[in-house]
Amino acid sequence: MTDGARVATLPGTPPREAATHCPYCALQCGMVLRETGRRIEVAPRQFPTNRGGLCQKGWTAAELLDHPDRLTTPLLRDRPGAELRPASWDEALDRVAAGVRAAQDRYGRDAVAVFGGGGLTNEKAYALGKFARVALRTRHIDYNGRWCMSSAAAAGLRALGVDRGLPFPLADLGRADTLLLVGANPAETMPPLLRHLTDQRERGGRLIVVDPRSTATARLASRHLQPLPGTDLAVANALLHIALTEGWLDRAYVAERTTGFDEVRRTVAGYWPAEVERLSGVPVADLEATAHELATVDRAIILTARGAEQHAKGVDTVTAFINLALALGLPGRPGSGYGCLTGQGNGQGGREHGQKADQLPGYRRIDDPAARAHVAGVWGVPVDDLPGPGLPAYALLDSLGTATGPRALLVFGSNPVVSAPRAARIESRLRDLDLLVVADFLRSETAALADVVLPVAQWAEEDGTMTNLEGRVLRRRALREPPPGVRTDLAVLAALADRLQGRAPSYREMHNKGPLLTPEEAFPTDPRAVFEELRRASAGGPADYAGVTWDRIDADTGVFWPCPDPDGPDTPRLFADRFPTPDGRARFHAVRHRPAAEPVCAEYPLHFTTGRVLAQYQSGAQTRRVAALRRAAPGGFVELHPDLADRLGVADGDEVRVVSRRGDLRAPARLSPAIRPDTVFAPFHWPGAARANSVTNDAVDPISGMPEFKICAVRVEKP
């Protein structure tokens, strides 16, 4: 193991070595890659997040670098229905440029859309947003992080004035007297994080987990609340009700550092514990004990994750937990606070620099005139040329190929055929496109539908930065060059911009003031050059990277944003003195429980919920191809309680069919007392018959656009 984060890259010929981070989740575990001959070894390294740990996904991450399924040449489909065939880069890029032109000539600029991913580096996410707004000049760009972080992001922004997943370093978890995890299962989703929880337990801290399933994480807890799916908001309001009636509020903090509490107080008055017990099934005694354990200790931390957030009321649910944290005076108090656990590798950075439909770099709003002026200045384009906000992810995908929707789509780092809610419908929308372009390094289920597939570099073949779940900007470092035939995403964008330059006269021909950039200048292929531009574009925004440099990251264990000044400090902990709101105060918002978008009924009497397993990641396009992970988690399954199975006449291992109003999935039954008898669970990593998202509901949160992945109504049948 290598200590620290200092560069361990030995460039040149093998043996080569790179100190980098895992390609998968937002924990971004520190690891060292060593190449000797054709062999690449992964070793964990001591980094403040993973502290020398790696899960099986990390250990095996390098197996995809030389995997036989690796794409090393562009693929083209000559006509609908034809097979994908190998093509040259020129042919493939010409085809993309021609398709983009055709769509925009006929239907206007918004006829082309871009769909990004939370796994892309900051540089790529930034360049992709710029490419959409400057080269394509479409308003339609969004990304799969919409299905991940958008509810927590929206709630954090409106309450705290900023959206940084954890407003404090991860190590603070280990020092919390009480830690409340809501809808989070890090034991399976980011195992090395548990080292901090072990730390916490050994110091005598309490861990309380709120989850409808008795997950591996819940089994570590000193208290497990097991609510009916979709009732977390009511649980939070009840906890606040109890804290209020027991006199546990931090009234001085509420008075000095917040606004809007009175309306929240009157709202939670209607959430007395017995009422919420009936709604959620969480015993009053457990609610009271939880409130007590949170409110009467020095250091308390409340964290939410997708279980609470992936609902059509996700923003309000997160808001309810932020209200609780604020009423107890936690945010900004040392060792305390509210945070969310980001999911994807660059889920944080990916949502800061312009991949979101309503956003410009630095976490600026695209409808804010000052933000537009600043970014247009950096990009050297007239401010009026910047498009306005586009549609959020699900609405965007659902509009593809329709009368008013885009006709062409460019996908980078995402696999919506598996990951989108109501996936069969989205799959058919993708098929309706005139042009689908997918940049990926494997033939994902979405790539398999594409007209053009562009083979791009993997994580160990590129430099760049990622921003982890703590808001810590890290360096991804290349071990080696991409294989022949493969280009980086930045190179793909540059080549497309070059081909499309006639389509984007704004920055070359039409306007004769301001800096005129050539496509090569506007879309550099060197990630360090992109980052330098990102620094300028983000300067002064909420997520200010102006003071972050690659050298500074290399010299230490990353840099926490905001960091406006290269010579000034970064910000490991937010909110110590003020909140980044106009008046410096955090804002309470009164929120009320509402039922799931699709209630259970006689025909669909069971709740259905989705999630992850330890040995797979996201849509599984990568991890399903790793032999060791396939052995550990070979396929989809349906988890159901033995009592329910008994009533259905289902035995462990029997194939079952889960049916919703939108579709069905088939997979073997896995009987477990860890789940409520009124709820069934399936992991979402598999395509085809076991695709969980064939079943999920596409109802979305009115504020964030987050789909309701975590609850819908189903029935379970024997096929």
Binding site: P44, G52, G53, L54, C55, Q56, W59, A187, P191, P192, L193, L194, R195, T198, R213, S214, A218, R219, L220, H224, L244, T245, E246, G247, D262, R265, R266, T267, A269, G270, W272, P273, A274, E275, E277, R278, S280, G281, V282, P283, V284, A285, D286, A590, L614, A628, R631, A632, H641, P642, D643, D646, R647, S672, P673, A674, I675, R676, P677, D678
Partner: protein, 476 residues
Amino acid sequence: MNVIIIGYGMAGARLAAELHARDGDRKVTVLGAEPHRAYNRIMLSTLLAGKIGEPDVELAEVAGQGVDVRTGVAVTAIDRAAREVRTADGDRIGYDHLVLATGSRALVPPLPGLDPLPERVVPFRTLDDCRRILAAARGARSALVLGGGLLGLEAARGLAARGLDVTVVHPMGHLMERQLDPPAGAVLAGTLAGLGVRTELAVSATAVATDGDRVRLDLADGRALTADLLVLSCGVRPDTALAADAGLAVERGVVVDDRMRTSDRRISAIGDCAQHAGVLTGLVAPAWAQARVVAEVLAGSDRLTRYRPRPMVTRLKAAGIDLAAMGDAMDDAPADEELTFADPARGTYARLRIRDERLTGAILLGDNPAVGTVVQLFDRGAPVPADRRSLLLGRAFGAAPAAPAASPALMPDAATVCQCNDVSKGALVACWRAGARTVAELSTATRAATGCGGCRDAVAGIADWLAAADPVGATR
């Protein structure tokens, strides 16, 4: 459309909010007789206990945007012919639809000495009652509570929490006889005794007398109890006077149909004052469900909407008391299936009745970890777990799988030791045989304990076990 709601309690306020949340061109006027904004009646016993202040019991209110809330306005009559209500101030306000949410009033028993109510004798019903009790309790050392039902016990508990010496007088043989069976009542009395609340059961009061700062309650058995304060909690009566005067059909409450309409189509009634299918509810949950039905009817959002009563759950939860009662659990008649558990010394009692795999009733008192599950199963009519013990012991849902075998020797080879890296006991043993001897060596070779680190002790245990079983190997 002009909608008038008479009554700004929990039902009336909820209806105003439900209407506010629905689209439509309508003006809603709420007339509340009490002078303050809507409050949560359920929190009054907490207010009595002194843990919170009056603002803390206020409920969220909708005002503006088509909702006009007027507090301190008493309605004196309904003129159905003119479609108007008249207020004590002499106003006349026209309506297209009128909703009665007048609630109920505390019953004052017909005992000598209670007419007029003496200063130190107070019913426990409204915020104003609460204020009077608190005023009387100031400087008081003892209190009597007449009535051992849910509200009386909540008041008793609240006053005891203030440090008063409290005695509950109840004419029936056990406490909360409408919800509890005699053994549960006895366990509850024991729990209350531990909290400083005495109970006098099966004895009626015959008269009340006041003497300066003291109140005397005469009992039918010839005894007399004295205290600084007497709280009356002898039940409530629906407030139906306006409805009766207006000629609406009134029995014990204002008679309503499934859409909460009275005998006049333009007038609805909800909450404590309403009598649906012969039943008075007296609880918040049904009142709120009724408010939703009226809102949907008036907004036209769901013309087929009907009020469907759900089974009632009585819940008493205060520091030191945890009681849930529902359904037919106080019945003497034998059930198809009955589960019981009693530990009176620790204040725990459970009785559950099951028919056709469904709960028909339950009493849970004390520390019952499955209470949330039981309430939900009863409320939803969902099937009970095959393992009935889980309803008593709280293992219904999410019981942890069997703990790993205590001794590595008993663990099957295929058992997973390290979840994060999918390492079995067999793999560790094989590694040992190949020469790895320490936890670090086993970890390096198999990656066990390199993820979350949680299995480190288990790996160490296996290493120790192998060393003990194979001393030669260990020293080699």
